[in-house]
């Protein structure tokens, strides 16, 4: 058995991944490249005495800007262990695909060209003289239709063959016309003994000013300084003579060469007929129809994944709920007056993990639809349509989908939104999109807005809801613009490629592979990161815990509660079954588990089954739980329910006290001097903080803080029991609308950027922005004596004007040669 290492290269949408699936037949292994969050897919198969290992490198348009993907791809190809490159080109889009091929030729490696989508190309009336192309490139060329498994055996065969005749298959390097003389001069100087890369490649890259290669030369060559000095001289000379910089000349030559190759090998038989893709594009990209079509596709995607996916969660949730109950049941039982730490911890961890697992149905649908759009070839078109608008704000056409999913016109969800940025090629826009996503309208904020709006703006609810949900979009655009001009300045941008791939029918298998890959990866990452974050938060809330005095007070209340209960049932004929502390504890746990089991049953048979099971466990406890007509048991039931209610209240009090005392609570108070300018008292601060950490929805926290009174309809209770005015409510709403939605999003940003620094930034700037906006509204509103609705409208106009102004500022651009 000999080993052959093969690297799969190609531009996005050329069918590279399909070729990969076809070769490895699902036997794939996905890992991460060290230190970055790009998936590394590899797989292997045996063929004729050889074990062939294939690495599917990230798709890249060229090697001109140094995104992480490109760096990885380059390193892999140049690695001396990589025996063969398989360069996948889309035959129906040859011109664009050839540009990458030109760059690969410089690398001087044995190359096989998988001439893919040959069926689409033929349909479009293109025919090729592949013999000519083979001669020009000295690469082995195989016609493939990956989606139909055509050309599979030929590829395998040629891998073995090329490996055998290694030397004769080194690809032909490009000849750089006028510059070639200069390249050769440098080549002669390079001492090749200790170098793993070809002299030609090093030399070309030096003329391209490639930092990586310059570094490489310094490390591995004795006369680096001499070479670099000479290089500078030659470059000057060339520029003077030809009036073009070497870098630009190299790029220009590659394009010319690509065109030459294309001319030499293609025979277009239906030159003047429009291709199938052109016909579709004439509708999809039509001046008037493009936007409506795009909007309806996006709306469908949103509706199916977020809305229906969300509805699916009501079906899948019981499974997660069961999972939690099962896991928690392995931990020590609850005591009468407390829940053991370890059990609390288990509940906390399960809640954290479940909160994220709950997204799986949404993700499944979303990934499925995205894979279809990607494979069909619509994605680049979508980006193309919206690019002009987004570019003004430092975003990219590809930002459309993530932003929509996060809630551009209705409640979305930031978690899939952040996930959807994964495929973006433009790093700067990707970061800008990811960082503005938390400003979008998350579905989870809706209950909160509903509560506040019902309390203060009963009459203008619809108008206010509209203003809230659209103002955030303008804020997001403005923020994105500011970020790209400042903190993201140094990030890579990729040129927007105007050429669009042909449409093709996706294969179901390919799509499913994609979906499961992504889901699996999500699960793996989520579980590990959630665990880490949840543990830290747990500690932050649990410690330092409650004060001694408070603890004594609560213990007394608990003792008191128990003695009241015993007093009530002293004369009861069943007293002996509950007169021990342990029996009471056992009954509490019995009652709670029975209730939680029964809560989720809707069928009579199932209910009967549970009943008889619990009757067997303890017939008396069961009787107290369901006393039916037994008067004595009814008394116990009533007294017991009172005890439970008190117990819950005590637990709540303990928890609130704990939160208030915890690191988080102290911070809430700490910030009062600042937040008072926005009209927030410490209670609201603590509510904001604990709602994030203790997973208590703000609805509940705010409700609890102002003790909504049961007889009142809830709307007026908040309004009347607090000192808040509608203006103060607007400040709270704006703060809420601009602050990041949840831990899950935070974790996703960490997963995508692989950096706690960015995660922290993504969380802290909205906080600052939200607070400043709230202060601004509250102060200006108070000064001008504005009503809540007026303040909201004026704020809206203010944000809108800023957005307009920002769109006029030109973007900072790094020099790009492509």
């Amino acid at each position: 058995m000999n080993n052959i290492q093969v690297a799969l290269v190609g531009q996005p949408n050329c069918g590279k991944s399909t070729i990969f699936n076809m070769l490895t037949n699902i036997k794939q292994h996905i890992a991460n490249y060290p230190g970055v969050t790009i998936d590394k897919k590899s797989g292997s198969f045996n063929y004729k005495e050889s074990k062939i290992e294939v690495i599917d490198l990230p798709g890249t348009y060229s090697f001109s800007s140094y995104s992480v993907e490109e760096k990885i791809t380059r390193d892999y190809i140049l690695n001396k262990d990589t025996d063969i490159i398989i360069n996948t080109v889309d035959a129906s889009n040859l011109r664009r695909n050839l540009y990458l091929t030109m760059q690969l030729l410089d690398m001087h490696k044995p190359m096989i060209i998988a001439f893919n989508m040959i069926d689409v190309a033929k349909q479009n009336g293109l025919e090729f003289d592949l013999k000519k192309l083979q001669k020009l490139t000295n690469a082995k060329i195989i016609e493939t239709v990956a989606s139909k498994k055509q050309g599979l055996d030929e590829i395998k065969e040629s891998i073995v063959e090329v490996k055998k005749s290694q030397l004769s298959h080194i690809s032909n390097a490009l000849h750089y016309k006028e510059l070639q003389k200069y390249i050769d001069l440098i080549k002669e100087l390079i001492d090749n003994k200790s170098l793993t890369l070809s002299k030609h490649y090093i030399s070309v890259k030096l003329f391209e000013n490639d930092a990586q290669i310059i570094e490489y030369l310094k490390q591995n060559s004795n006369n680096a300084k001499q070479i670099l000095d000479y290089l500078e001289k030659l470059k000057e000379e060339f520029k003077e003579k030809f009036n073009i910089s070497c870098e630009q000349y190299i790029v220009k030559t590659r394009y010319e060469k690509a065109d030459e190759f294309l001319k030499a090998c293609s025979i277009n038989t239906k030159k003047n007929e429009r291709t199938f893709s052109d016909k579709i594009d004439s509708i999809v990209l039509n001046k008037y129809l493009a936007l409506p079509i795009l909007a309806s596709i996006i709306f469908t995607l949103y509706q199916l994944s977020i809305v229906y996916g969300y509805e699916l969660t009501t079906i899948t949730w019981p499974i997660l709920s069961w999972l939690k109950t099962t896991v928690v049941s392995f931990f020590p039982q609850e005591n009468i007056d407390s829940i053991p730490y370890i059990t609390q911890f288990a509940i906390w961890m399960m809640n954290s993990v479940n909160a994220l697992l709950n997204y799986l149905p949404i993700f499944f649908i979303l990934f499925f639809l995205l894979a279809i759009l990607e494979d069909v070839g619509y994605m680049p078109r979508m980006a193309f349509i919206l690019d002009r608008l987004f570019v003004k704000f430092g975003l990219h056409g590809e930002s459309t989908l993530p932003l929509v999913l996060s809630g551009i016109f209705a409640g979305g969800c930031a978690v899939p939104g952040v996930m959807a940025t994964k495929g973006m090629n433009d790093k700067k826009a990707q970061m800008a999109t990811m960082l503005t996503i938390p400003l979008m309208n998350c579905l989870a904020k809706i209950p909160f807005f509903t509560l506040i709006l019902a309390a203060f703006f009963q009459a203008d609810m619809a108008l206010m809801m509209f203003l809230i949900s659209t103002v955030t979009i303008f804020v997001a655009l403005s923020v994105s613009k500011v970020l790209t001009l400042t903190v993201l300045k140094a990030h890579e941008t990729t040129p927007f490629i105007m050429e669009l791939p042909s449409y093709h029918i996706p294969t179901l298998r390919g799509i499913f592979i994609k979906v499961f890959d992504k889901i699996w990866l999500y699960l793996k990452k989520i579980v590990t990161i959630v665990a880490a974050v949840a543990v830290v938060l747990f500690v932050l809330i649990q410690f330092p815990g409650i004060s001694k005095e408070k603890k004594e007070e609560l213990d007394n209340k608990s003792k008191n509660m128990q003695s009241i209960f015993y007093k009530k049932i002293q004369t009861n004929k069943y007293y002996s079954h509950l007169d021990e502390k342990d029996e009471l504890k056992a009954f509490i746990n019995f009652y709670n588990t029975y209730r939680s089991k029964r809560m989720n049953t809707t069928s009579k048979e199932k209910a009967k089954e549970i009943d008889s099971k619990y009757k067997d466990i303890n017939p008396y406890f069961f009787l107290f739980t369901k006393p039916k007509r037994d008067k004595e048991a009814k008394k116990i039931n009533r007294a017991f329910k009172k005890l439970l209610k008190t117990r819950k209240a005590l637990f709540r009090e303990t928890k609130d006290e704990k939160v208030e005392n915890s690191a988080l609570g102290s911070m809430g108070k700490f910030f009062v001097p600042l937040t008072q300018y926005a009209g927030f008292d410490w209670k609201i601060n603590v509510a904001f903080l604990s709602s994030f950490a203790a997973r208590e929805s703000s609805v509940a926290t705010i409700g609890a803080l102002y003790e909504s009174n049961k007889e009142d309809p809830r709307s007026s209770s908040i309004a009347s029991s607090s000192s808040y005015t509608p203006l103060g409510a607007v400040a709270i709403i704006i703060f809420m609308a601009l602050t990041p939605p949840c831990i899950a999003t935070m974790i996703m940003i960490k997963v995508q950027t692989n950096s706690y620094k960015w995660m922290f930034f993504a969380l802290s700037y909205p906080m600052v922005l939200g607070l400043l906006s709230a202060i601004f509204i509250f102060q200006v509103g108070s000064f001008l004596n504005l009503s809540g609705v007026e303040a909201m409208v004026y704020f809206y106009i203010f944000v809108l004007s800023i957005t307009m102004l920002l769109s006029l500022i030109p973007n900072y651009k790094k020099e790009n040669y492509v």
Binding site: V307, N358, F449, L540, K645, M667, S697, P740
Partner: protein, 100 residues
């Protein structure tokens, strides 16, 4: 460092994650029904509006109490219980699915 980051980031954030509204009901066997509500991430449903409907008409309403529970007298005939936390967060359970 990590701890510090979390400490501060915990400061910032409000409201729970995109959570599914959840409600389950239990027939107490004494002519009353207790429903517990909340959200899938463990968030409490206290303060959320509850109402009982018969033939599309509200016959009674109230709020989830601080224990995130709502107890009501079982009406005659068909009815449904609704936990309404705003758009996209409505759970409705039919009376016939609440078995004794």
């Amino acid at each position: 460092m990590f701890k510090k980051i979390l400490l501060v980031s915990a400061l910032l954030v409000s409201s729970a994650s995109a959570h599914t509204a959840v409600m389950t009901c239990f027939d107490n066997g004494d002519g009353t029904i207790t429903c517990e509500g909340g959200f899938s991430d463990g968030a409490s449903g206290s303060g959320v509006a509850m109402y009982i409907k018969q033939n599309d008409k509200k016959v009674s309403e109230g709020l989830m109490n601080e224990d995130s529970e709502f107890t009501f007298t079982k009406p005659q005939g068909e009815y449904n219980v609704n936990f309404d936390a705003g758009k996209g967060h409505l759970v409705s359970i039919k009376g016939q699915d609440i078995v004794e």
